[in-house]
């Protein structure tokens, strides 16, 4: 037996040596393969050397995108990432300056009356191929957006133009649109009804120009690639590798090019992973990073200067007001409102930096008459009153003729914040009122489906502004608004919205919206939660970053690099 054991261990030894040789060969093989691939790649010339976050010598900043921009055709784009890109490479008749004031874009002067708007286009406004931007480019874009065949989801934002809605419904041909171009550089817009904020509307991407001959030459691929898009904004897209990177260079045909201080914006990474975004920032590869709650400790550790911003979105629990629903009962809704503690939700539960507890449908940024609307007209405060809430609940139970309360369904999205929030409300309603809540967690499209078909009692919902006016929030609960998925239906409220839509007197409008705000509290239409916020960090050398509630956000068109800042 002794022989065999000696034999065995010597076998292991020499086999082990052999294995070691294989191991070394493998490692060398991989090294060689890598080297070959690298050499091959540099031959092809595709090797992209990674640069730092900010490069003062070349005037370049490097950033990430949360996702591949789904749609760069301005007549079709609906999402925020696409809006950000479009906002950097296109320009409308009017634009917003770094303070958010409306100033001239393609138009150098304009007049807006009750029934008509006239825009005089500047001679220096050019497309990136050097041809002038003409009034016809706007007419083409707007007619195309409204053409039912285009099926643009943002067509409604053009409805203030004469005949726009009828065209979009297919009742009139697109050529019936109330716009005309007496000459190349004059655009006359007839209005369907008077509107106080038409200047803000025309700075919205859906109003941006599209040049007909170029559009037709792209054969349905307009905006699909860097070379199937024509630019008239501060930057042009010089390369776009789908899913990987998008590079913008300063547009040398842009009329204001001398004021644009960055040469290149390189969106070099595309990922929605918050942790990865943070790692890119930590590694000095990107000049901006949004902060997820779990990233905050990292920011503190590194003593980064944390900045905050409210993006204008308001979040709330929306009730189902359809006739057969328990939540149609006012006493039940009041009971729930009386235990709704939005500051506890924001400060103790979700703990997201930048989020503001709220008691109104209207966000704080909206203008009133002389000051911010919410400062002129604070929403009625509903103090927490559990006893009163229980009395209301008892009233509701009697009115509805119930023995005991069946569980109420709370429809939510499927993400960590929604989970925290829905579980918080579940426990509050149980502890304070003894109500059972069944959480119905759904991914985005399924949640939309259930909201639209009315398959819920309460839903965690939100609304972001389409333009900077009280109306974009006020008309949310108009009975005809399709986004009013809880189907709140109140003739008094509807009348206020109609009046506000037609009025050109801001003092009167502000009063109307204040009354809407009161109705929303008195009628317990929603349980207000918070105004959504964002916290972010930037490279200290990057200056002049502008955040916007509506339009391209973050906006780097006014940004510059300051080498000395640290």
């Amino acid at each position: 037996m002794a022989d065999v054991i000696i034999d065995e261990s010597s076998f292991v030894r020499s086999a082990g040596r052999q294995l070691l040789v294989y191991g070394i060969v493998t490692v060398l093989g991989f090294a060689l393969l890598m080297w070959l691939l690298d050499a091959l790649a540099s031959l092809v010339g595709s090797s992209s050397e990674t640069t730092g976050a900010v490069d003062a010598a070349t005037g370049t900043i490097t950033l990430y995108l949360d996702e591949e921009p789904p749609q760069l055709d301005s007549t079709l784009a609906t999402d925020q990432v696409s809006g950000r890109i479009i906002g950097h490479v296109m320009e409308g008749l009017l634009r917003k300056d770094e303070l958010g004031n409306i100033v001239g874009g393609v138009a150098e002067s304009w007049t807006i009356d009750a029934d008509k708007a006239v825009f005089n286009l500047r001679a220096a406004a050019r497309w990136s191929d050097g041809k002038p931007v003409t009034a016809h480019d706007f007419i083409f874009a707007w007619q195309r957006t409204l053409d039912p065949a285009t099926a643009s989801e943002y067509a409604f934002i053009l409805y203030y133009i004469k005949n726009a809605e009828a065209i979009n419904r297919g009742e009139m041909p697109p050529t019936a649109l109330g716009v005309s171009a007496p000459d190349e550089r004059t655009l006359v817009v007839e209005l369907e009804r008077p509107v106080l904020f038409f200047d803000k509307l025309v700075s919205f991407p859906t109003y941006y120009p599209v040049r007909e001959d170029f559009f037709k030459a792209t054969n349905g691929r307009y905006g699909a690639d860097a070379d199937t898009l024509l630019y008239n904004g501060p930057f042009v897209i010089s390369s776009w590798v789908h899913g990987a990177s998008l590079r913008m260079d300063r547009n040398e045909s842009y009329w204001r090019r001398d004021e644009i201080r960055l040469n290149t914006i390189n969106w070099a990474y595309i990922t929605s992973d918050a942790n990865a975004q943070l790692n890119f920032f930590k590694d000095g590869k990107v000049a901006y990073a949004g902060m997820a709650p779990e990233s905050l400790s990292v920011a503190l550790e590194n003593r980064w200067h944390l900045r905050q911003f409210q993006d204008g979105g308001v979040f709330f629990i929306e009730f189902n007001h359809r006739p057969n629903r328990l939540t149609r009962n006012l006493h039940l809704r009041r009971a729930l409102l009386l235990v709704n503690n939005s500051s506890e939700l924001v400060n103790k539960v979700t703990k997201l930096p930048g989020y503001l507890p709220t008691n109104s449908l209207f966000p704080a940024f909206l203008d009133g008459l002389h000051d911010k609307f919410r400062r002129e007209h604070p929403a009625k405060d509903v103090p927490i009153d559990v006893d009163q809430a229980r009395r209301e609940l008892e009233l509701a139970r009697k009115e509805l003729g119930l023995e005991k309360w069946p569980p109420l369904s709370l429809l939510t999205g499927d993400n960590p914040i929604a989970n925290l929030q829905s579980e918080y409300y579940q426990s509050v309603f149980k502890d304070k009122l003894g109500l059972d809540v069944r959480i119905d967690r759904q991914i985005f499209k399924q949640r939309l489906q259930k909201m639209t078909s009315g398959d819920f009692d309460m839903v965690m919902a939100g609304w972001g502004p389409d333009y900077e006016d009280l109306l974009t929030f006020g008309d949310f609960f108009a009975s005809w608004n399709l986004n009013n998925r809880g189907r709140y239906d109140n003739p008094e409220y509807d009348a206020l919205v109609r009046k506000a839509q037609a009025s050109l007197d801001q003092a009167e409008r502000v009063e109307l919206f204040a009354r809407m705000q009161d109705i929303i509290v008195d009628d317990a239409v929603i349980l207000p939660n918070y105004e959504k916020g964002a916290s972010f960090v930037t490279d200290p050398r990057l200056k002049g970053l502008v955040r916007r509630v509506v339009g391209a956000d973050p906006d780097y068109t006014y940004a510059w690099i300051e080498e000395s800042a640290q």
Binding site: L19, G23, S152, Y154, N279, Q449
Partner: protein
């Protein structure tokens, strides 16, 4: 050989047809409207969108239209990127996934065979215990943890050297590919190590090994010619499905390392109910998997003379 190959190919096509049908069915059973968006659209706009994507027709008719288009190799236009064809998406992003997947499978295959042989050689001794512990870790730790850890160590590495040793993410050069493909291949490597170890252990006591030893063949020769080669057959068998799994399963790694692969489209399309992209990527990946398995079966004969096919 030719007839066998042909038979397998026909079977493969039937499988792909089955995949397409099952996907089509499952996709339409998922609740939710693929054309719905955050902002509610009017009935007219919705009708126009439905007409544009052919969703206004009866489901059965849609099915045959789909099938006809797939047969012609046309997967249609994406629902979320309304000016991009699914064919373009696959053409642009699959090579990235494939490159990363191929590297990963090379890592996994070579690593699995070598570590497996090592553990078998030193069974129940320290190297075996250590490696098998790591293998259990590799199999059980999910890829999003691995990817995050991998990226974090790159950040630390670069901070330590004060320069970019290896990029933290992105795509373009070999240096971008290294860590992501390692992370991607790690799970498979662990699995293959275990497979290799057990198949080695089965063989060390086989009759032909004893004969070889009795004949007095040199140990190194027995080890590499008789043990290693025989034991790696099961590894080759699972390599086919593993290649497909790795090339399709890169979603998390692609997300974390900001790599423009197809895996992201594959997963996000399902969340967004992007019918055409779901169909396109699933059928494409399904076909890829099926033909990988066939290819491996054919290659098998080259490695093992005993299974050479008539």
């Amino acid at each position: 050989m030719f007839r066998y190959t042909l038979k397998r190919l026909v079977q493969g096509l039937i499988t792909v047809w089955f995949i397409a049908t099952a996907t089509f069915g499952a996709m339409h059973l998922v609740p939710g409207d693929p054309l719905s968006g955050e902002k509610a659209a009017s009935a007219e706009i919705q009708a126009n969108l439905r007409a544009k994507y052919g969703l206004d027709k009866p489901v059965l008719q849609q099915y045959f239209v789909y099938l006809g288009n797939i047969a012609r190799g046309d997967f249609g236009i994406s629902f979320t990127q309304k000016n991009r064809e699914v064919n373009d998406i696959i053409r642009e992003h699959f090579p990235v996934s494939a490159t990363m997947g191929l590297l990963a499978i090379l890592f996994a295959g070579a690593g699995g065979v070598l570590w497996g042989a090592l553990t078998a050689l030193f069974r129940n001794r320290l190297p075996d215990v250590i490696i098998m512990f790591l293998v259990i870790l590799g199999i059980s730790v999910p890829s999003f943890v691995m990817a995050a850890l991998g990226q974090l160590s790159l950040v630390k590495l670069n901070a330590f050297f004060g320069a970019t040793v290896l990029p933290v993410g992105g795509w373009g050069t070999v240096r971008h590919m290294l860590v992501p493909s390692l992370v991607l291949g790690l799970g498979t490597m662990a699995y293959l190590t275990r497979l290799m170890r057990s198949s080695m252990l089965e063989i060390v006591n086989a009759d032909f090994i004893r004969t070889a030893k009795a004949k007095g063949l040199p140990a190194a020769r027995i080890f590499s010619k008789h043990q290693l080669r025989n034991a790696s057959l099961p590894v080759v068998t699972v390599l086919g499905p593993a290649i497909a799994a790795i090339t399709t399963g890169g979603f998390v790694v692609e997300l974390v390392f900001a790599i423009p692969g197809l895996g992201r489209y594959f997963v996000q399309a399902v969340q967004q109910l992007d019918y055409t992209v779901i169909m396109g990527t699933t059928v494409f990946y399904g076909a890829f998997l099926v033909f990988m398995v066939i290819a491996v079966d054919l290659v098998y004969g080259l490695i093992d003379p005993r299974v050479r096919l008539q």
